[in-house]
Assembly symmetry: C2
Amino acid sequence: MGTVSKALSLLSFFAPDRTEIGLSDLTRLSGMNKATVYRLMAELQESGFVEQGENDRAYRLGPQVLHLAALREASTPILSVSRRILRELSEETGETTHVSLGHDGWVQTLSHAYSPRHATKVTMEDAQTVTYHATSSGLAILAYSDPEFVDRILSQPMTAHTQLTLTSQDEIRAKLEEIRNQGFSSTEGSFELEVHSHAVPVFGADGNALGALAVAAPSSRMDAPQQAKIREALCRAGADLTHRIGGRPPASYTFYEGH
Amino acid sequence: MGTVSKALSLLSFFAPDRTEIGLSDLTRLSGMNKATVYRLMAELQESGFVEQGENDRAYRLGPQVLHLAALREASTPILSVSRRILRELSEETGETTHVSLGHDGWVQTLSHAYSPRHATKVTMEDAQTVTYHATSSGLAILAYSDPEFVDRILSQPMTAHTQLTLTSQDEIRAKLEEIRNQGFSSTEGSFELEVHSHAVPVFGADGNALGALAVAAPSSRMDAPQQAKIREALCRAGADLTHRIGGRPPASYTFYEGH
DNA sequence: TCGATTGGTTCATTATTCGAACCATTGGTT
DNA sequence: AACCAATGGTTCGAATAATGAACCAATCGA
């Protein structure tokens, strides 16, 4: 494994519930020698990717990650554009809405909005990482990704989050075909029991899905009229989001409305 | 120079007006051998920091930078918290407001808000990089930073952006002392002629300034009552922002109001 | 058709990284 | 107060990874 990859892999140990990590903890988590970890972190620190407190010498993510994120937003402003779209979609449907980003091997919840309409709602946190196969968003992304990428994702072991999670390749591929036919994904109890989610892909400039826009609700509220409403609202919002971040759907995707 | 630092330095060539860079351009910009650039970018790509289009093989920043930024926000939510504070401060003062982040060697405009009150306004873009010595925000950060950090910043060559830019160490150190005495910085025409800016530091958990909150306006509108209003509003907003991102000012900083 | 430029590749040589062993400090326990 | 475990940090001979000159195929403009 290259030196750069080793260094960057150290950054992947940071998590929403682990925003500070000491040298010895990183050594344990990574399995690398402590001197190696120290040197790699020193270079990351010099480059602004991590920083240390003065007294508490634990490592934290540094300002450079915000700078690069802002630069990424300059070209694909998914974070800033999705904020309002999530809020409006949440108000319109009365449910939790969120935008996810596809990574190599996992899906990231990027941003979300809650509706105050119901006290019971699906909650989530940004920067959370979830699997492709078990989530509505992940499946929506896969359905409109490169076949090689899909192969790579589906060749990894697929864990069952609930007893309703699809884990066999055949089942998942059939599900992807269903999504391609109807333009959105719908899962119930796949990632979490009693939660019904719908998602549509969000496309980049190259016509591949780079993320997904989703509505998640307790299954008990999801009657047929409400589902139809969510699907229609999602297709409109997905078109809007893709369009405004400078993306465009592939010719085969004809489900967006209003664009 | 370590291999990790070399790889990460390639990322610093991305800019708001250069969100895509080809292999040969990166080779020219960096001065490294093309094979080296290729391999380093391949590792950055494997780690999700950059990606390439399918047809257009130019490199762009990848999804991992958004993920890390979201993780950084989990511990120091300066981006999300500042959004509303910027908007309210902008409405209250009628001028452009912005939050900046201090990096090693430069200052980044992180987020901004415009007021619709006047047609003539100071404009800016996120992810823009500016200097410490020539900006109100930069000077506000320096005034509340480690002496060693200040020494390092002031030992670099200091360019004059306008004929009003302070460039001598003595002048700048005197300015920093003035800021420490009054709790905010005020510059006129230093970075751009006809622009008057005020800024207060934003502190991290360790009592050092990690950023600044600023109001920028055309000098022609800055009469004494308006300046007093801006200063008072900035101190209040700066206290609010520092407090809500989990920071705390050093004992010597007594200018925040409301906290 | 040709030349310039692009993105990408190879392998002998060179430079960097590695990690076992070590150190100083800190904090908890007895 | 003494001891031990754990922390962050350091060293240098050995091992490994990175380097870059030279090359290739494709593309595009003249």
